[in-house]
Each structure stands twice: as C-alpha cells, then as structure tokens.
C-alpha cells in the first residue's frame, strides 16, 4: 500500500490540485485502499483524458487505475472480452482489430481507459449508429463505498449500472468489465472528405449522411464570418471490401503537439482559413485502425490551459442552436482551436448520459481573459435550446444547469445517496456540481 503526494491536472490544464495518489496493481487491493481514504473521499483516474476537474480531488485521494490492465479472457466466437478497467481502447483495437473485431464506438481518442470511457460514457464518430460504448457492455463488477464488489448489468442491479455509466466515478470503482466486441463488416473503410460552404449546407448534408454512412464528423471553421458561418469539412466513412489505396508519397502518422505560437488566437484563425481554402475533396480507402483516433495525432496543449465545451442538441433544436452558437463565436471574434460536430443518438442507458438524438458539437478554446464568461453564455444558449453539456469535459457548469439539462439527475442522486451516503467517492467536480445536495444534508 503506497500513497504519493502528487500535483495533478486535467487534460486541459485549466485546473490542478494536490492530492494523495495510489496505484493499485490488483483488484483485491482496491477495497484495501478504500479503507484508508480520508474525509475528502477518493476519485478514480484512468488516462486523465477529462479536460477539467473530473479526476481531481483537492486534499483528497486519487486512485490511478492504469495498472489494473489485465485481460481475463476473450471469446473468439462471441467477441466477449472480459478485462480490467485500465486497458486502453487503443490496446483493445490493436490486439483484436487484426482478428476482425472492433469496439462499438469509434471515439476520437484511443488513450481512454475502458473504465474511464464507461465512467464518462463517451460517444464517437458513429454516435448516430451506436449510442455509446456502454451499449455493448454485458456486465461490470463495481467496488462500492463499503468495499463490497457488486455485479451490475441491465438485468442485475440496473440502477447501479445506469448510474455508474456516465457517473464520473461518483458511485463506485469499476474493476472488471465484460464487453462485446463487434465483428467488423470489412477490414477497410472508404473515407470521403468534402467541403461544406455554410450552415444550411452542413445541416442538409448531415441529414443525408445520417442514414447512409457508418461514421461521420465535421470539422467546423469557427473563424468564418457572416454568410460563411458553419463552413467546414465533412468527413464520412463506410466499411468497404476495396483494398487500401497505396500512395508513394504518403506521410506516416506521427503524434505531435502544436507549438505555442500556433495557439495564438490570430494565427489560429489564419490557419483555419488556410485549411478551409486549400482543401480539395478527397476519397480514399484506408484500414479501419488507421482511420480511428484522429484526435490522438495532433495535441493542442497550451500552457494557458484549454477549455472544452461539448453540447448535444436535438434534431429539431440543433440547426437553430448551432447557428446561434457559431454566430456568437463570429461576433465575439473568439476562434475555437478545435470545433468538431458529430451526429448522435439519444442515450437512454445512463442516468447522466448527455447524447440527444441530433447533433453534438465539441469546442476547444485556449484560455484567455473573459473566456469563462463567454462559455457560460454559450451554456445559457444551450439551456435555452434544451441542449445538454457533456459532463466529461465540463469545467463551468453550475448545479442549476445540471438539474435543467439532465432529466434523470434525481435518480442518479438517489442511487448515490443510497450507496454512498458518506460521499466516499468524491471529487472537485462532484463538489462543484452536487453542492446543493451537500447543503441540504447540512
């Protein structure tokens, strides 16, 4: 049993905290560590992919789950994989992709641990086909606040299952997961990229591709003004049996971080303009594994910090809400350093599932003076259009927003009160958003 004092931050580096950190290497150690937790509780941290304070616990304990990464079994016939939560999505794809299997969700990053991906209930580029990764989970073993290990699934302990999925680690610690990997329809995907001229074109194109393609995402140019608002590049992909295109001049994919000068607001706007204007429509066939995890290759890390705001809108409200948000961005001359739009399906599985049947836009901003107020304004717009802000990367949501956005919020709180009345599973995020709940107790 070793504890370390460590300064930790979220991926966005907008908030940091000092906490006591432990790294269990066996499932049997998890309840033992739980016994040693102090008054500020404990939070589980996987690959630290959350942007804000979701995995921070000031003056409390943090459990790093990365070393709980054993795979127990894999059934080649059914595709059932039983593994510990520290296994990353990229590892699963690397190991089983070549054997003809794939994860249900094609998330943007493969660095997420399986436990983290379920705890945050991530959606992917195929969000319009498969709601989230959780839809392929058979069952999972969860360590509760009293140290008991309980199996949860849709058939057994349903409330627990629905709360842990997307629960940001506030209910229990996932220690074992049974997940079904899907058989890949084909080894390769045909990826088409085409330019979108404005928002009307964007919405129209997305309506068309929702039924026709397997994967879809749009890079939105947030530096666009007036009539060009909503312009961008639409990327769609579908499985194909065609062979992979061979090019003599292909550049190998390398992971790199963008230099700081690129992250300046003016230069970012300039680069977005360049990207849009010099882009030409393409159609290529690539292997499925090559196509996955696009956001792992270019890292946007600013020393000032990066905020991410991910908002889901229904199909009816989406076009209007997106227009308002993009217009606000244009008028305030604030350029998002990354803006990606994906299609999603309503998440009915999780109590804190954020995806609605419609559109989800993800915006990254370099921290600067006055940005927090602007983002709060965007959250207000989202509330007015019945949108939902994703909890996995949120840094600025307030308790009142949460209650208005999430219908099953009360069910989640009830489960939390029943299973963890002492708030053993706690974090800076939980204290920020569940503050009312604590006040009521006092």
């Amino acid at each position: 049993m070793h504890w370390y004092e460590m300064k930790l931050s979220g991926k966005g580096r907008t908030s940091s905290s000092v906490g006591r950190v432990c790294r269990p290497e066996r499932i049997a150690d998890v309840p033992k560590y739980l016994e040693q937790v102090g008054k500020n509780g404990i939070v589980v941290r996987g690959s630290a992919s959350s942007y804000a304070d979701q995995t921070l616990n000031t003056d409390g304990a943090v459990m790093m789950s990365g070393r709980l990464d054993c795979i127990r079994s894999f059934n080649e016939e059914t595709g059932e994989l039983i593994c510990e939560p520290g296994v990353t999505l990229e590892t699963i794809t690397r190991l089983y992709g070549a054997r003809g299997f794939m994860l249900a969700t094609a998330s943007g990053s493969g660095q997420h641990t399986l436990g983290g991906a379920l705890g945050a209930n991530i959606v992917g580029q195929n969000g319009h086909k498969k709601t989230s990764l959780a839809c392929s989970v058979n069952w999972m073993d969860v360590v509760l606040a009293d140290g008991q290990i309980v199996r949860a699934s849709l058939e057994e302990n349903e409330d627990l299952f629905r709360s842990v999925i997307g629960g940001q680690g506030m209910i229990g610690i996932i220690v074992l997961v049974s997940i079904n990997l899907l058989k890949k329809p084909a080894l390769n995907v045909v990826v088409e990229k085409r330019r979108i001229t404005n928002l009307n074109d964007l919405i129209e194109s997305l309506r068309t591709v929702r039924k026709s393609c397997d994967f879809c995402s749009v890079w939105v140019d947030t530096s666009a003004r007036s009539d060009a608002i909503g312009r961008g590049i639409l990327k769609t992909a579908s499985f194909t049996r065609d062979p992979v295109d061979v090019s003599l001049f292909s550049v190998p994919k390398r992971r790199f971080s963008l230099p700081q000068f690129v992250l300046h607001m003016a230069s970012w706007s300039f680069f977005q303009n360049l990207r849009y204007h010099f882009f030409s429509d393409t159609k290529t066939v690539t292997s499925y594994e090559e196509f996955l995890y696009p956001s792992d290759y270019v890292r946007v890390f600013s020393s000032k910090g990066v905020y991410q705001l991910q908002i889901s809108f229904s199909e009816a409200e989406g076009p209007q809400a997106l227009r308002r948000i993009l217009t606000e961005l244009s008028q305030s001359r604030i350029t998002a350093c990354r803006a990606v739009l994906v299609l999603t399906k309503k998440d009915r599985l999780s109590y804190l599932g954020f995806a609605l049947h419609g559109y989800t836009i993800s915006l990254d901003f370099i921290r600067r003076k006055g940005l927090e107020d602007f983002l709060k304004h965007l959250i207000t717009i989202a509330t007015e259009h019945n949108g939902r802000v994703s909890l996995q990367d949120d840094a600025l949501l307030e308790p009142r927003n949460l209650i208005m956005m999430y219908d099953c919020w009360d069910k989640f709180v009830k489960v939390r009160e029943t299973l963890d009345p002492q708030k053993k599973f706690d974090s800076d995020f939980a204290r920020r958003l569940f503050v009312r709940e604590k006040k009521n107790e006092q």
Binding site: E5, R26, R67, C70
Partner: protein
C-alpha cells in the same frame, strides 16, 4: 532452433515484469513466468494468452525463501522451453528506510530477494546459457544503487551489491556470447511516500519494458531508464561534494 526466444520472467508479479512479459510476447516470443505461488501468475498467463494466442505462456513456481530449490526450477524451465532461453529478472522487494530502521529483518529480506535470489538463479541458469552460446539476460537494477540517499539507502545497498556482481558476471558470460544488461531504473514507485512535482511522474512500466528489450537486442551492458538519468545521476551524486568544496 530458430531465433525465437523463451523469456524466463522472474518476479512476474512485479508490474515491470508484467509489462516486459507482454512486450516479449508481442514480439512473438514464448514466456515462462516465475514467481511466488499464490501471486497472480495465472492471471498474467490468461492475460498474455488472451492478447497473443499464438504465444506459449507457462508459469513456474519460484520459492525465494529456498535458494537451493533454484537448480530444480532451472531444470524445469529448461525442459519446458522450446527456444533459446533468455532471462529477465525483476525480482525485487523494497521497504522504506523508516521501516528498515525499526526492523532489521527487513534489510535481510531485501538482500534475500534483491541480491541472493538473483545471484543464485543467474548462477544456476548460467551453464544453460553458456551451452546455448547465445541469449540475453536483463536484470533490473536501480539508480538507488549508485549513491546513498537518506530515504532508501538500505534498498540502495542491495542494488549496489547486485550491480557489482553483475559487472563480473557480464564479463564471464560475454565469453559465451551471452549478453547481460543491467537496467538502472530511476525512482520506481515501489517504496515509501513520495512527493512528485508537476512534471515528474512515476515511470511508465510499458516504456521501460520496451527500452529493456531494445537495449538487450543492441547488446548494451548498462543502461539507464529514463535515458537522461545517465546524466542526472552523477550530478545528484557529486553535487553535494561540489557544493561543500566551493563553500570552503
């Protein structure tokens, strides 16, 4: 016999040994895991089988409290191995200096596992590797064995003894074309309370395992992980002397 290896991974319950076993298996080598009975050896065997179904993975019990049993263990491994035998040893236990001060038995235990177990096992396996006229031995050392630190000098002394023994062993095995690599890993989070600064993080076992395999293939004798500790260790070692002499 082909170029494929059968890696004997000692101390398989260690997180680094676990990472190394996976790394070796991913390169298509067979693996024999050696560790205490009751450790999660079977768990690791299942893990590697589920990851790499084409690789043969076995587990063999290693009783570090009975050093004389190692000869039989080596015979058992030799019998089971189908390819060229190579060894990765991460047999290690660590106690904080405070605990050692209270109970000297802990120092004895550390010497038993960190030094005597490795020396006995490597001595027992040496004739097998000499007969092969090839193979690799990788032993996990530590930068703690380079200089004494107030918080872990008991642990460091076990590693220092091991480093010296390995220097001689390297020369002996080199005559038989067997390469011995000592990997001196920095601040491994195995013992005691630590305070990490913002950018200093505990070592990544997978990266370390990759480096171990890479250095063994390059036939490096001594390497540091991370590589820059080769520069910082002498600095850390001599900085207090320099400071004192300049002060005079």
């Amino acid at each position: 016999m082909n170029n494929k290896r059968t890696w004997l991974v000692l101390g398989a319950n260690n997180i680094l040994a676990r990472a190394f076993a996976r790394q070796a298996a991913s390169a298509g080598n067979d693996v024999i895991l050696l560790g205490k009975a009751g450790d999660d050896l079977e768990l690791l065997v299942n893990d590697i089988c589920a990851r790499y179904p084409d690789v043969d993975v076995l587990s063999v019990e290693l009783d570090t409290s009975n050093l004389d049993s190692f000869v039989k263990t080596v015979e058992e491994c030799e019998e089971k191995a189908k390819n060229i035998i190579s060894v990765f040893s991460a047999l290690e236990t660590a106690y904080a200096q405070k605990e050692c001060g209270k109970d000297l038995g802990k120092i004895k235990n550390m010497f038993q596992i960190n030094y005597f177990s490795q020396v006995y096992f490597l001595s027992a396996i040496a004739p097998v590797l000499q007969k092969q006229l090839c193979g690799e031995i990788i032993v996990l050392g530590s930068t703690a064995g380079e200089y004494g630190m107030p918080d872990n000098y008991a642990f460091g002394s076990t590693k220092a003894a091991l480093h010296i023994w390995l220097q001689g062993f390297q020369a002996q095995m080199a005559q038989y074309h067997v390469n011995v690599t000592t990997v001196k890993a920095d601040d491994w989070d195995t013992v005691g309370e630590r305070k990490y600064s913002f950018y200093q993080k505990p070592l990544d076992p997978e990266a370390c395992a990759r480096s171990c395999l890479h250095y063994a293939q390059k036939k490096v004798k001594v390497c540091y992980f991370p590589w820059y500790t080769a520069l910082t260790v002498p600095l850390r070692r001599y900085a207090p002397y320099l400071y004192r002499s300049l002060k005079k």
